[in-house]
Symmetry: C2
Subunit: 128 residues, 2 copies
């Protein structure tokens, strides 16, 4: 019943899958499997393949991307995705939110420095 307390997993949480997909697709069209690897590389470790495909379809439902089947010489056909104008708008808004989170996280990290015990030598301050 009570929320489980666990150490925050490595990397970005999966709530960043959506903004990340928008950003990656802004760099050019791509397909799910490749996006999965890029999303992982961008920081969402262990991004879930099933969830990613579902997210892409939901983004299509929302009108943020359009998709089409594309045959592949080596391997099964791929569904490629392209960012729409609405998607680009969603990306801009998403980035605004990310900037806000970035700023707030910075504020929290700075705030910790005030109460942080000096764990190493004072020289560590200079080396930052």
């Amino acid at each position: 019943m009570a929320p489980v307390i666990r150490p925050e997993g490595e990397g970005l949480s999966r709530s960043y899958v959506r903004p990340c997909l928008l950003l990656l697709l802004a760099e050019g069209p791509s397909h799910g499997y490749e996006l999965l690897e890029q999303v992982r590389q961008a920081g969402v470790r262990n991004a879930d393949a099933g969830g990613l495909y579902r997210t892409l379809r939901a983004m299509e439902q929302a009108g943020w991307v359009s998709s089409w089947w594309e045959p592949s010489q080596a391997g099964p056909a791929r569904r490629s995705y392209m960012l729409s104008d609405e998607g680009r708008q969603a990306l801009v808004e998403s980035l605004e939110a990310m900037r806000e989170v970035h700023r707030m996280l910075g504020a929290m990290l700075d705030r910790y420095d005030v109460v942080a015990p000096a764990e190493v030598s004072p020289a560590s301050v200079a080396s930052r």
Copy 2:
């Protein structure tokens, strides 16, 4: 079935409630109601009171904080919380994760600048 696509709400997501509580309690003991306001002020807009109290109890279960009742001159009694040594350790780990997220977000934001259309005048670049 498919994940709902919605504009990311304002401020930090509620997954930051836990790290934020650790940080706030590192500054000194406090009670739920006050922590709620501080958590909101720190960026988690509309933090849920019910969830916050449950989180605090879960953190106590995990041994990160200890609590005791404290009578109040004005208003009902409060349950005050104090960070334990384990909690301080959890904070250090949590901050490490937050630094990572901060860094990765920065990388994503920088990455956007490469593909971003120049929306205003080139002077806007200089003013950054």
